[in-house]
Symmetry: C2
Subunit: 109 residues, 2 copies
Amino acid sequence: MVANEKLPHPEREDIELTAVLFALSDEARLALVQQLKEGPMDMANCSALDPNAPKSTRSHQVKVLREAGVIISELHGRNRRLTLRRDDIDARFPGLLESVLQEESALQE
Amino acid sequence: MVANEKLPHPEREDIELTAVLFALSDEARLALVQQLKEGPMDMANCSALDPNAPKSTRSHQVKVLREAGVIISELHGRNRRLTLRRDDIDARFPGLLESVLQEESALQE
DNA sequence: ACCATGGTTCGATAATAGTTGAACTGTTTG
DNA sequence: CAAACAGTTCAACTATTATCGAACCATGGT
């Protein structure tokens, strides 16, 4: 039972490849996904989301990933806990996440 | 020896993941890449490039894929022969193309 | 109940991307 | 060499995305 799911997430079968690719085609969003491969994180702790940026900007980046079906964003205390939808993406597009997550350059430069 | 290479193509090591993902995040461009997995094709014969669209539009779509390093566009007679850079993409991002090319939906709907 | 925290939403503006016609380039064919 | 063909480039326009401040909303702590 997932707590308080107010923000819409696409069902697995509604996840579209082009939307996923687009969501991942941004350095910042890709870096965030890289960070989430280790496990769920609270949004406030994600260093990949520039802490200097306004929160509306951070919220927007997360929204794009969420609406594409790449991550789940659920209420957890007063934070948002972000979880990579690894199973769903793997089921829809086998091998895609693995190949993207291998790449380290997004975090380095 | 490749014939008459006037248009710039990035070197293998300069191909960026985000640029590739972005190039593939468009239905039309993805469909073109799907079509090219069978082998090189002349631009004029690619049904994935809407034949009703103006040629400047088709040229633009090809340009995005070329500049991202996804395809090679070389002069071949009075056509452009398009070739998927499978080896280069595989070398840079192993598994990525395979996972994207498995997906059929782009050609179907 | 109040306040601080962490985030969302809205609306405006800036930046980036796509579309297209017209003019131009290179190549084949007559 | 001229016309036709295939495509590129340019410039103007449209459309989509991103950024950001301000107002708002829910939760946790006191």
